[in-house]
């Protein structure tokens, strides 16, 4: 494809919210206050699994300073069916129970009641006065234990979806899903070499530094204003309306600046509670989670247990692949098992594939999305097994991947056939990278892994308002997590042909712009970007029409070029170009304000592929792993703002390093979470890491005006397996359970020493 040259797209401009964010002026969720607001606090279950016999709130209500107390009885129950809320299909019966427990508490940290009081101290005191009569039940945390015979059952009404004859069986398995391609028997019969292994991961938290925060203000006539930190103000509106039996138009949600989300802020927790408390108290209510509440009460990602089997011919052609994956959804169904199954072998061109997945509930917080939900879990097993296959075949780990890479025309096991994709280009870039070309130092190991994410489109609206001085306000409804305002403004500047600094992008509330699906799935620069481009083009058409009026010519005779209206040809007449500012200043005389609007359901998101390379050293005594070097290669379509593309890659990689080496939820025998703070839930810090070298591959997506695919999801897919592969390279030890933390790795090293000694 011919290189397009752009003036603004692809340049590294300062972000529009930069000055606000380096001076402390930017207002995040907890920075917003309303006059006279009350402090809302949530009482959480100390039990992993318990019937709630009764809740007595009378003492709390009697405490001076307490203005409202609520339980699930204050919210209508919901039918057990899938229904749309803010365009996400959810089971509202489950959502309302996750927001506040009804007949049962299903995990340590599950909300059971909430209060609003004049001060935080009084609110805490009030929580202590609420009497909950629990009947503690046996609990189950681990996913394989949850599916085992005789496991404690979380939901009496749950039946396994998609399985015939499951109507009468109590179960923790919410759904079974299967994808197949080709013929497995014929695949295995062609295989000279077979690898079969089991792998497990732990749930990990998205780890955003900003806890969830919401302020609700309600009026007697039923209006609601809500300010909160969210990835999707329209989704919050949809959820709250359903859960509280309101109309969406009554609820106006204003998103604050958001201090990280990564998928974890796509659902609601305190938001509907703050609204309900505010309605009961007649005053604004602010609920801010503590860090402990974030860990105990908000959703981590799903963990999985899986068996992977691969077969290949002697020359390294993979002919059969089988995956059986059980994913834990937390207390309510909805693990991202579909995407896990679909992504699992998407990087490869394999003729015979069988993938079976299970969505399993257990007594943990309900999972929420986390970057490429499901894909990293499957990749941990599959990409580890690919390296085991390479070892057995005596092939280079990258060569084996190149040989089997998905290409244009590869039919995936979940149905579609790939068109122009960047998998091969990504692997080539990895192979030719300075990193891969550099020999290892003694004692180091090198690991490679690849990853896939679909990227998504969905609904976006945008508006472009031309001011009287020719500067532009760009309005979208997609919360800006990692610099998307800058990307949107760059595309608008490119279209308009004006200076990037003349464009001011804002993120609007739910009443000020049309519906926007949430920020997630790597969709904003793609989908909202498309809406922005369309809105700007509509404004340009209007600008041309105004110039045509001024020149008294047909609009077709006016073109837009370099930020000016120009005659389309010399036969139109001899007119000096009219700049945006010149047209804008006369807007009133030529027909009024000049704006453009667009709304669309963006289709044709381009699949994203990535490859990563890690060099690690392992301390043989402590089992401590140091990442010495890391390169992340990814096809992003077009990098609109390369700095923020690199930032997404680097950030995703480091979250993956944490997932690989340290992060996990630790439960005691009562099913209570033990590591509820950053000290014990150890995320990577600066001194743990090297620089992360990004290599951006650009295979433009033909369905986007600037070729955008999406960036943010793929980078977290390969790290766990790639690091496991590097550890295997350095030590000869294959780790199969995450995280590969020092105690586990040193135990494995010791065990290997013992068996070596026994062999001598």
């Amino acid at each position: 494809m011919a290189e397009k040259t752009y003036k603004w797209v692809g340049t590294r401009q300062p972000r529009p919210d930069g000055a606000d964010k380096v001076t402390g002026r930017a207002r995040f969720g907890a920075d917003f206050d309303m006059p006279g607001q009350l402090v809302g606090k949530v009482l959480r279950s100390p039990h992993a699994h318990a019937n709630i016999r009764s809740i007595d709130t009378s003492k709390a209500e009697a405490l001076p300073g307490v203005k409202a107390v609520m339980t699930s009885a204050d919210m209508p129950d919901m039918p057990d069916e899938m229904a749309p809320a803010g365009e996400v299909m959810v089971n509202l019966r489950d959502v309302t129970r996750n927001v506040m427990a009804r007949e049962k508490a299903l995990y340590d940290g599950h909300a059971v009641a909430a209060v609003a009081a004049t001060t935080e101290a009084i609110a805490r005191q009030a929580l202590a006065l609420i009497e909950v009569d629990y009947e503690v039940l046996p609990h189950v945390i681990d996913v394989d234990q949850a599916v085992a015979e005789g496991a404690p059952i979380l939901h009496e009404n749950l039946r396994t979806k998609n399985v015939d004859g499951a109507e009468d069986t109590l179960t923790n398995v919410a759904a079974r899903i299967q994808f197949t391609k080709g013929d497995m028997d014929s695949g295995w019969s062609q295989a000279d070499v077979v690898i079969e292994h089991a792998f497990t991961t732990k749930p990990v938290h998205q780890g955003y530094i900003e806890p969830h925060a919401a302020v609700a203000s309600t009026t007697e006539d039923g209006q609601v204003q809500l300010w909160c930190s969210t990835q999707g103000q329209f989704n919050v509106r949809g959820y709250c309306a359903k859960l509280l039996g309101m109309e969406t138009s009554q609820i106006r949600v204003t998103p604050s600046e958001i201090g990280g989300g990564f998928g974890g802020k796509t659902v609601v927790y305190g938001e509907p509670l703050a609204i309900k408390l505010s309605q009961k108290a007649g005053k604004p209510v602010k609920i801010v989670m503590t860090r402990e509440e974030v860990f105990r009460g908000s959703g981590p990602t799903a963990a999985g247990a899986m068996d992977v089997k691969l077969g290949a011919t002697k020359d390294g052609r993979i002919v059969a692949a089988d995956l059986n994956i059980r994913m834990q959804a937390g207390a309510f169904p909805g693990a991202p098992v579909g995407p896990a199954c679909m992504c699992s072998f998407a990087c490869y061109d394999i003729d015979n594939i069988n993938v079976v997945g299970f969505d399993v509930v257990s007594n943990r917080p309900k999972v929420a999305a986390y970057r490429a939900p499901g894909s990293p879990v499957a990749a941990w097993g599959v990409e580890s097994a690919i390296n085991m296959l390479a070892e057995k075949l005596g092939m280079d780990q990258l060569e084996l991947r190149i040989k089997n890479a998905a290409r244009e025309g590869t039919k995936t096991h979940y149905g579609p056939t790939f068109k122009d994709i960047g998998m091969a280009a990504t692997l080539d870039a990895a192979k030719n990278s300075p990193h891969y070309q550099t020999p290892l130092k003694p004692g180091q190991g090198r690991g490679v892994a690849v990853g896939f994410w679909f990227n998504i489109g969905m609904d976006s609206s945008a508006a472009c308002h031309v001011g009287e001085d020719g500067t532009v306000t760009l309005i979208s409804g997609s919360p800006d997590i990692g610099g998307s305002r800058a990307s949107l403004a760059l595309m608008a500047a490119e279209e308009l042909g004006v200076d990037y600094q003349k464009i001011r992008p804002i993120v609007a509330d739910t009443a000020s712009i049309g519906f926007n699906f949430l920020t997630g799935g790597s969709r904003v620069t793609f989908a909202t970007g498309m809406a922005v481009v369309q809105a700007v083009r509509e404004a340009i058409d209007e600008l041309r029409a105004r110039a045509a009026k001024l020149w008294e010519v047909d609009v077709e005779a006016v073109i837009w070029e370099d930020g000016c209206a120009k005659p389309a040809g010399s036969n139109v007449g001899d007119f000096e170009p009219l700049s945006l500012a010149e047209i804008a200043v006369n807007a009133g005389k030529t027909g009024g304000p000049i704006n453009g609007h667009a709304q669309l359901n963006a289709q044709g998101a381009g699949p994203g592929f990535g490859a990563q390379i890690y060099d690690v050293s392992v301390d043989q005594d402590t089992g401590h792993v140091t990442v010495d070097r890391c390169t992340v290669v990814q096809d992003v379509g077009t990098a609109i703002h390369p700095d923020y593309v690199e930032g997404q890659l680097q950030g995703g990689v480091v979250q993956g390093i944490g997932w690989a080496l340290n992060e996990e939820y630790i439960y005691n025998d009562k099913g209570q979470l033990e590591n509820t703070g950053f000290l014990d839930y150890r995320m990577p810090v600066a001194s743990d890491l090297p620089m992360i070298e990004p290599i951006i591959v650009e295979v433009p997506n033909p369905n986007h005006p600037y070729g955008v695919r999406g960036v943010g999801e793929v980078p977290i897919v390969p790290p766990m397996a790639a690091i496991g592969n590097a550890i295997a390279g350095a030590t000869g030890i294959r780790m199969t359970d995450l995280p590969m933390s020092p105690p586990k790795l040193s135990a494995a090293i010791d065990a290997a020493r013992v068996s070596e000694a026994a062999d001598d």
Binding site: Q206, G338, G415, K419, F454, I456, Q603
Partner: protein, 82 residues
């Protein structure tokens, strides 16, 4: 005729296991209606809570999307993301 690919579950429920189908129609809706004619009850599973890949590109809520005469149309679980 478009080549329609159903999920295994839909195939089991409605088409006696047949995953691939040749279906006439120029939009997703037309394909869905034709399938409904052949397999009564299937349409509600093709309308809500699914994504569809037309020639390898994923479309969500794409009922009116155009389909070329020899397109490959694969129904699949919906995708959200982080």
């Amino acid at each position: 005729m478009a080549k329609v690919i159903l999920t295994r579950w839909l195939a089991r429920q409605f088409t006696a296991g047949q995953i691939e189908h040749q279906v006439p129609g120029l939009t997703i809706r037309a394909l869905a209606r034709e399938l409904e004619y052949r397999y009564p009850g299937i349409i509600k599973h093709l309308e809500d809570g699914v994504a569809v890949a037309i020639d390898g590109e994923i479309y969500q809520n794409a009922f009116l999307e155009k389909v070329e005469p020899n397109s490959e149309v694969a129904f699949m679980p919906p995708i959200e993301g982080g």
